[in-house]
């Protein structure tokens, strides 16, 4: 038995929005792999819940007319990683969420929950950051489109207003086309673990495949929120595919991260991981793009 107080069961997004407006303190229950556990642990015991898990209109993935990828928030991690649109255009996102928890957690956990919890370790967050995802936040007053870059306000804090529900995540075509990505999750165990550090990189190579046209890189658990490294990205722009590129990306990354010591790992170890994962993920992304790192 879960120890919660009231349970609201909307049958449409419209009804859910009305309930959220009337009961702004009530929590949205998606897959529950965080909320139901926190209720069990007592941290959220006695809370009110709005059960949106059954709202099928918030589930699914499609390619829109303008080429952007639209992911509805209740799509499970398993469904994200198996979906042909994801496999075809942003396979790195599927590979990232395939490293969350174990099969049972990936079947129940939702991509929207991963983003809205606002934790720095969220395995999907770094890839969405590198692809300039735009969030669709809906309230009874209408839709607010917010760049994901501006969504995380602090650890566990996001710019989702009390009367809003996240109804979509979009990846624009100009951001993902002709890119190749790679995600590395460094954790102590190979499953059922939270990242000690996460790094997502995607690259677009020049036509001759001998230099970087555009590189994007983001880190999880390297700061209080998932972050992009603009220093690394700028230093990679136009760079030849050589060992110096990997060093430039690694050094650039160090300029942007602010990891801390926690029981999982020390700050010093995380800084080492930032450099090493930046190198390895960049090399892997370049190779996926058909390039070769010389020297």
């Amino acid at each position: 038995m879960y120890n919660f107080n009231k349970l609201y069961e909307p049958t449409s997004v419209e009804e859910a929005l009305r309930l959220k407006k009337e009961h702004p303190e009530a929590l949205l229950l998606a897959g529950g792999s965080d909320i139901l556990i926190k209720i069990r642990e007592g941290k959220l015991a006695g809370c009110d819940l709005i059960n949106i898990y059954m709202l099928e209109e918030l589930r699914g993935i499609c390619l829109e007319d303008d080429g952007s990828i639209l992911i509805r928030p209740l799509t499970s991690f398993t469904d994200v990683s198996m979906h042909p649109v994801i496999k075809g255009h942003v396979p790195v996102l599927g590979e990232a969420v395939d490293q969350i928890g174990g099969p049972q957690i990936r079947n129940i956990g939702t991509i929207g929950g991963n983003i809205c919890n606002g934790v720095t370790s969220a395995d999907s967050a770094t890839t969405f950051k590198t692809y300039d995802a735009v969030l669709e936040l809906t309230s009874m007053d209408g839709i607010r489109l917010l760049p994901y870059a501006e969504f995380n306000l602090g650890p566990g804090k996001v710019d989702l207003r009390p009367d809003e529900i996240m109804t979509g995540i979009r990846i624009p075509k100009e951001s993902y086309e002709n890119t190749y990505g790679h995600y590395i999750k460094y954790a102590m165990r190979r499953a059922m673990d939270i990242a000690t550090l996460g790094c997502s990189v995607n690259v677009r190579l020049s036509k001759s495949k001998d230099s970087i046209d555009r590189l994007r890189i983001a880190f999880g658990v390297a700061a209080p929120i998932p972050i992009r490294s603009t220093h690394a990205e700028e230093s990679a722009q136009g760079h030849a595919l050589d060992a110096a590129l990997l060093e430039a990306v690694a050094e650039g990354a160090l300029a942007d991260v602010t990891p801390r010591t926690s029981w999982r790992a020390s700050k010093e170890f995380r800084l080492q991981l930032v450099k090493e994962l930046a190198r390895r993920a960049t090399k892997a992304a370049v190779e996926k793009a058909g390039g070769t790192i010389n020297g």
Binding site: M1, Y2, N3, F4, L7, E9, L29, G32, S33, L36, I37, R40, E41, N51, Y53, M54, T78, G101, G102, P103, Q104, I105, N107, I108, R190, A191, M192
Partner: protein, 163 residues
């Protein structure tokens, strides 16, 4: 707290349960339906001892609301035996390979293995391990569990080729 009638298919039979809306699926299946293969282990989605298949996919029934089961097709370990109560090949393989010691985790492991053993192409041991990564066993050291799953998958693939 309000009670609600939940109608779903459990092991091939349509059933309706009057449940407290605060119940987990594990509460409903173990408490209301009396299916004791479902173990309350960690109750927070870590150990996999409560694993059941919902519409063919493994879920931790301890962190699944009973009310979400409305209209779903649920399979538990009890549903693997035939009508005479003869156990299935995967259960027999767990016994034969020594994959059962204390037995507490066994129903969850077997349910997690169902999607793999029904595949048409053989899985590597690494792939099998990934599919049961959400289940914990403190006795066996896992090797014999992987053996049992691998053996059953091979057997089923061979049977499909014959037919």
């Amino acid at each position: 707290m309000a009670n609600k009638n939940i109608t779903c298919t459990v092991n091939g039979k349509q059933r309706t349960f009057a449940v407290d809306v605060r119940s987990s699926l594990s509460d409903m299946l173990r408490g209301n339906a009396g299916l004791d293969s479902i173990k309350h282990g960690c109750d927070v989605g870590e150990c996999g001892a409560c694993t059941v298949l919902i519409n063919g996919k493994p879920f931790n029934s301890c962190i699944y609301m009973a009310i979400w089961a409305e209209g779903k097709d649920i399979l538990t370990l009890e549903g693997l035996s035939d009508t005479k109560g003869t156990i299935s090949d995967i259960q027999q393989a767990f016994i034969d390979e020594g994959a059962v010691q204390c037995g507490f985790c066994t129903p969850g492991f077997i349910m997690s293995s169902i999607p793999i053993i029904n595949k048409d192409t053989p899985s590597s041991r690494e792939e099998i391990r990934k599919q049961v990564a959400g289940n914990l066993c403190r006795c066996t050291g896992y090797e014999h569990i992987v053996d049992a799953i691998e053996k059953t998958q091979k057997k089923r693939i061979a049977e499909k080729k014959q037919n």
